[in-house]
Amino acid sequence: MEYGRKRSIAVGRVAALGLVFLVGLTAGLVSCAPAYQAESAKRIAGLGVEFAESSRCQDCHLDRYDQWQQSKHQAVSCEDCHGPAQAHVKTRAKLAVDTSPELCAICHAKLVSRPGTFPQIDVQEHGKGLSCAACHDPHSPGIAAPVQPAPVPTTPPPAPTQPAPVPTIPPPSPPVAPAPAGPPPVPHSLEGRGDCLMCHKGGIAGASRVPQDHAGRTNETCAACHRGP
């Protein structure tokens, strides 16, 4: 009687509830993720940068940039040594200039694991604690061939195949034989150059070679005759 009808109504209600719940559950399972992911990707793409590229430096520092572009350090970005520069582009706050040998040693210290063709050296032994920049301009680090000693060469010296490096000290005047009038004065600043023999013994970086009659003399005695600036 009543019971049968009530029962079917109840079953109908339960079935309807179940259906609505299932639909809701399915709709929820169809993920909203793509919309959120697209928004997240845009947010991440919009983050600010800290490192400008080296090409940005060209805008203001054209001379250094050109020098650097032609040097052996052309693959070393400006910011490798000077630090992130995007802020500097906007605010022009001074960037770090680190001339310590430790900075150069990061790449150029001798390590067995480094490829053999890569220029590496025992930095302490080679530089004796001095700044590498004393002899190697970081924007053009190659050193010219040592200047030959006084005797006239039998064959003309070969023309240089690459542009001469920017000298850090004035080029030496050609040697005038025989003895000069007196001890030549020191034409360059002595800062960072306490070891005269380091360059003058072998005639490196265009320095004039120590003459034969100075044999046996040490660094301490140079300043006694050769006056500084």
């Binding site: 639909v23 992911q37 997240s40 990707a41 793409a45 630090g83 390590l111 067995v112 490829p115």
Partner: protein, 268 residues
């Protein structure tokens, strides 16, 4: 008596109906929210930059023959992406492999290589070893085509973009670290400030602006190469043409997109 009976049962029935009612009413809610979100996503699109991810498919290559282990890439990455300086947190890192004459393969990666490496004779591990070979292997997120990290995220917080980069939505990540556990390369870490999973994004914020990833710019020897795999003349495609390349842990089935020119036999 009868009243009490009715009232108690009445309340229970009311309660049950209420709960079921709320459940039914709220079940289409996620559907509604998704619809609403589409609107806000559209609004975002109109205002954002004109970078279309669908036009690119990024790839990365590492020439281990050139790497000198200077660690400039690790430092640049930390500075560019504001990664904390502590040793545990890094997005990219450099490993040094030393192969002894006996064939043993040893690896070290001090502080991810950010300060470079000390000479082998100064490390007790290598001091008395006869060394056959030694090299540096830089590593970063491989942005796999079959990424285990994306597969395991319970809330879809990590995902692959259309241009092939895997990112983490820091607003939805719950920090369960399942992706850290699932990555076979150890590329992920939990960021201590945002408390969500973090990893190398190939500097997505740079590459979408036409720049290169910070580590690629920083590398002084050109060991890291980046480019668009769709562009035949991109640096990566050129390298892939000129060299035979391999990937890390191919047996994991992840299909990485970082291609290495040479890898030592026991590479981790």
């Amino acid at each position: 008596m009868n009243d009490k009976k009715v009232s108690r049962r009445h309340i229970l029935k009311l309660g049950a109906k209420g709960i079921i009612g709320i459940a039914i009413v709220s079940s289409p809610l996620p559907f509604l929210l998704r619809y609403l979100d589409k609107e806000s996503a559209k609004a975002n699109e109109l205002g954002s930059a004109l970078y279309d991810p669908a036009e690119h498919y990024w790839g990365f290559a590492v020439d281990t023959r050139k790497c000198i282990g200077c660690g400039r890439c690790v430092l640049a990455c930390k500075l560019e992406n504001h990664v904390p300086m502590e040793p545990e947190y890094f997005r990219t890192w450099v490993e040094r492999y030393v192969i002894s004459e006996d064939g043993d393969v040893l690896m070290d990666s001090p502080n991810a290589g950010i300060d470079g490496f000390q000479p082998l004779h100064q490390d007790a591990k290598y001091r008395d070893l006869e060394i056959r070979n030694s090299l540096f292997v830089p590593k970063l997120c491989n942005q796999c085509e079959n990424p285990p990290c994306v597969r395991v995220c319970p809330v879809s917080a990590t995902y692959t973009t259309k241009d092939g980069v895997i990112l983490v939505d820091e607003e939805r990540c719950i920090g369960c670290k399942y992706c850290l556990v699932a990555c076979p390369y150890g590329a992920r870490y939990l960021h201590p400030e945002t408390k969500v999973a973090d990893k190398c994004t190939w500097c997505y914020h740079r590459i979408s602006k036409g720049l290169q990833p910070a580590c690629v710019d920083a590398c002084p020897v050109g060991a890291r190469i980046f480019g668009d795999l769709r562009d035949r003349e991109s640096p990566v495609r050129k390298l892939l043409r000129e060299e035979l390349v391999q990937v890390l842990k191919p047996e994991q089935g992840t299909k990485p997109k970082v291609y290495y020119t040479e890898l030592p036999e026991g590479v981790k």
